[in-house]
Every structure is written in C-alpha cells, then in structure tokens.
C-alpha cells in the first residue's frame, strides 16, 4: 500500500527504498508512514505544492514525514509574521525544507541582519523568497560580499539592486565575481562600464564567458572595432544575456542579406543597438512592409540607414505618415531623409495646417521638419500651441 501510494504520486523505486532505509522512517511501520505521508501530501497539495515538488522535498529531508502538520502550519505562520506572503512561505518550505528546523528567533535575526546592511524589509523578503538558502549562511559571509561591491565602486543603491536581483551572489565565491570582472576588463571595458552593466544585468556574473568571447570575436572579424562593441554592450547590457548573445551573428548577416553594406550595419547597430534585440523575422517583415508602401529595395535601405529605429516602429505608424507624405508629394523626398518618418505625426500635421493656413507652405516643405526651436524662431509659434490648435 505504502509503496503503491508513493509510486502513484511520483516517487521512483530508488527514492522509496532510500526513504525506507534511513532513520527515522525505518523505525516506523509502513502503515504509520503511509498515514503520515498521505496527510502531509494532502496538506501540501491543498497549498499549491505540486507532486514533483513534494517528492523532492521529502527526498531532501525525509524527517519531514515525522513533523506534525500543526508544526508546519506554525512555521508557515512564523514566516508570515516576518513578512512573507503565504504562497512565498510555502515556496520557501518546499525549496528549503531545512527551514522547518529553524526557530522563529533565528528567522527574525537573519532578516534583521540583512536590514542592518541597508536593505528594506520588502527587499529582504524578496531575497529570502528567491534564495532561502541564505537563512543558513553566516552573516559575516554575506556582509563580505556586500562590502566587496561597495569597495569596488558600486553605490549602495547599485549594490542593493544587484543583490536583490541575484541573491545567489551572496552564496557565490568572491573568486567567481572577481574573475568575471577581470574578464570584462580584459575585453576592454572600463570600471564604470562594468559597474553599469552588472548593475543592470547582475545575472551576467553567472553567464558563460566563452559565448561572450565568441561573439566578440565574430563582431571584430565582421569589422566592428573594440570600442564599437563596448559602446553597444554598455548601452544595452541585456544584449549579454545568453538568449540574445547567441543570435548576434544572425542579425548581422540578416541585415547584410537585406542589402545593407557591412559599414551600414556597423553604423546602424552602433546607433541603435536595439536592432540586435528584434527577431530577424521582425527585421525582414519590417523591411518588406516598407517595400509594400511602394519603395524600392535601395530606397528602403536608404530610409532605414538614416533611421534604424524604424525597424522597431509599428508599421501602421509608418504607413499613416507615408500616406500623408504621399498626399503632399513628399514620399520621395523622404528617401534621403528617413529620420523624418520618426517625427510625431501630430506635430507634422499641426505644422502642415498652420503653414497652409498662413500660406507659408509653398516652397517651404522643409519647414515641416524643422527642429522645434528653429520653427519657433521662424514662425513664432510654439509646438505646444500648435498641438492645441491655438495658433
């Protein structure tokens, strides 16, 4: 019966044998064990713990089978008292069942220790929920990690942000952190860049550096120089996430296939590093959508080279502007001035109506695209008033 039940909820035979052999389960009869495990299973299931999580928890600490549900409820209550939500409390217990052995005072003390470093209470709750193993760590260990960041030059705010986002760093060796910093330095990053990048993307400390080196080399071979790459990464550190990093070469090749020269690609991606974050399908579809408006391939290349941000724009936004410019025969003028597609449509329209009304439009189409200050100097009307229709 016991074995059948355990198998039915996801234990494998090896796990069952292991549990039955070790102390204290072997001191109890199978019927007691079955009774306990059923009760416990029902209790955790009712509180959102899945079968596989329950199995893992019991395999980690078989002793739980002999802790009364009342005691577990008390522990959950204690966690709630120190600030955890009920679901988080269950999450912590299932991920770190050792916690059931900790007294309320120990839990509270650990939370207070973090707060003494400058973390807010809700941040401590967030840290402990993500990484409950820290309840076990010695305060002096995570204090050392904390001070390391401050001494390296991170501000208190940045240090807190990093550790709240990646609390595993409290448990990592200082060597790992120092080596990663050294890797960045060897690639040419300055300390301020490293601080910015790791503050925005603390998980970078755990990324595989080989992939990073490989993509760096690819970009160097393509024609980027070291400073270009650092500029791009410094602007958008998220690019270093493995999800994106692996696709950099695909993006570069995709842009070349669309008709951009290598020089264009380097110029565009340095100007707008977000291009690396759009999918290649998205880049291609945006390029084709521009062609469908009536532009030739080389026209689209020219427009997008001038305004690579358009790769990200909603095509309806571009189309609306195109139709307007077409209606005033300016669509070809924009081939050499792709940036004008990025101007807010309301502003262009308001200027158009203003200039038409004042008979100033003829031969002055270029004035539609003046900077606000230049437009004001020439026509003495502010953008705010134009948009309100007060002019």
């Amino acid at each position: 019966m016991l074995e059948e039940f355990m198998l039915s909820i996801g234990f494998d035979e090896k796990q069952i044998q292991r549990i039955q052999k070790i102390y204290p389960p072997r001191a109890y009869s199978p019927s007691t064990l079955l009774y306990n495990i059923r009760n416990l299973y029902n209790f955790f299931r009712r509180n959102g713990v899945h079968n596989s999580e329950f199995v893992e928890m019991i395999v980690t600490i078989p002793n739980i089978l002999f802790i009364s549900i009342e005691n577990i409820k008390t522990k959950i209550q204690e966690l709630k008292e120190v600030g955890f939500q009920r679901l988080d409390a269950f999450y912590i217990v299932k991920n770190y069942p050792y916690l059931l052995d900790f007294s309320y005072l120990v839990l509270k003390q650990k939370m207070d220790e973090f707060e003494s470093l400058g973390f807010r209470h809700d941040q401590v709750v967030q840290i402990m929920s993500k990484y409950p193993h820290l309840f076990r760590e010695d305060f002096s260990v995570f204090r050392k990690r904390f001070i390391f960041f401050l001494e390296y030059g991170y501000s208190l705010e940045e240090t807190i942000r990093i550790l709240v986002s990646s609390p595993e760093l409290f448990g990592s060796s200082l060597d790992l952190i120092q080596n990663k910093i050294l890797d960045f330095k060897n690639m040419g990053f300055q300390e301020k860049d490293i601080i910015r990048i790791t503050s925005i993307l603390p998980s970078i400390f755990f990324h595989d550096v080989n992939l990073l080196h490989k993509q760096f080399q690819y970009l160097l071979d393509f024609g980027y120089n070291e400073l270009d790459i650092i500029h791009v990464v410094q602007k958008i550190p998220i690019l270093l996430k493995e999800d994106y990093l692996g696709f950099i070469s695909n993006h570069v090749e995709c842009l070349v296939e669309l008709g951009f020269t290598k020089k264009d690609v380097i110029f565009m991606t340095c100007n707008n590093p977000y291009l690396f974050l759009y999918s290649t399908d998205n880049l291609i579809s945006k390029f084709n959508a521009m062609k469908e408006l009536g532009y030739r391939d080389k026209d689209v290349v020219s427009i997008l080279k001038d305004a690579p941000i358009l790769f990200g724009y909603d095509i309806h936004n571009i189309k609306k502007k195109y139709l307007f410019f077409q209606s005033i025969q300016l669509e070809h003028y924009l081939i050499a001035h792709g940036m004008f597609f990025t101007y807010n449509f309301d502003v262009i329209q308001a200027r158009y109506h203003y200039l038409s009304k004042n008979d100033s439009l003829k031969n002055h189409y270029h004035d539609l695209f003046l900077m606000d200050d230049d437009f004001y100097k020439k026509y003495h009307v502010k953008k705010r008033d134009l948009l309100k229709g007060d002019s």
Binding site: K235, I236, I238, D243, N271, N272, P273, Y274, L277, Y278, S279, D281, N282, I309, G312, Y313, D314, H316, N317, K320, M339, T342, Y343, N344, F345, D346, V347, M371, D372, D373, D374, K383, R384, L387
Partner: protein, 127 residues
Amino acid sequence: MDVLIQYGFSIEEIQNMLDTNIMIENVEDRDILELIDLLKGIGCQNEHIQNIFICNPFCLTNSNLEMKELIDQLYEIGFDSLYTLFDSNPYLLNISAKEMDLFYHNMLQDGMTKEYFYDYLNYHFIY
C-alpha cells in the same frame, strides 16, 4: 497579457514583442494597465501606445515607478507634450530619471541651451 489583446495588439505583434523581450510573459495585466494609464496621463493616444510597446517592449517590464520618475524629471526639465517625445523615441522610457538628469546637466555644462536640449532629445536619438 490578455490586456494587450483587448487593447488591439495582434497575435503577431505580441509574438514579436515576446521575441524581443521574453520577460513580458511574467508581467501582470494590472501592471500593463497601470503603464497604459501612465502614458495616457501624458497625452498618449492608443496609436502612440501601440507604437511605444511594439518598438520598445522593454518598457513593459520596466518599473512603472521608475518610468513615472522619468516623466516627472522631464516635466521638471521643462518638457511639455511628452507623448510626442516617447512616440518618436520609445526607447527613452528605458532611461532612468537619474541618468536623464545627469545627461541634461552635462549638456548644460557643455554650454548647450535648454532649448537645444529639448530639440536634441526630440530629434536625435539617444538610447
């Protein structure tokens, strides 16, 4: 993400946004609604919000509080009609208020006028 569908985004657009920023999966609808309200509060119409989300799906996972701080900072600097600014350059929403303030003061220190800074932000793309 139901709210995006209700708001008129097509499945293809949402997929593209997800391809760019996979973290959107974890965003609560109420946070998206809060962001939409924030953008409407500065004058954005539906079409502007669509362009902003499609171009910069990262704003959906930024902290709404930090974006609110940025907006307050831009007003303090003297910007009006912020919706035109974000519609032209949706990536600006990824910059913190502190970075914006630093950027502004550096430009002033370099001898630029306030008016030049307004135009610079409106018509030159800083990321």
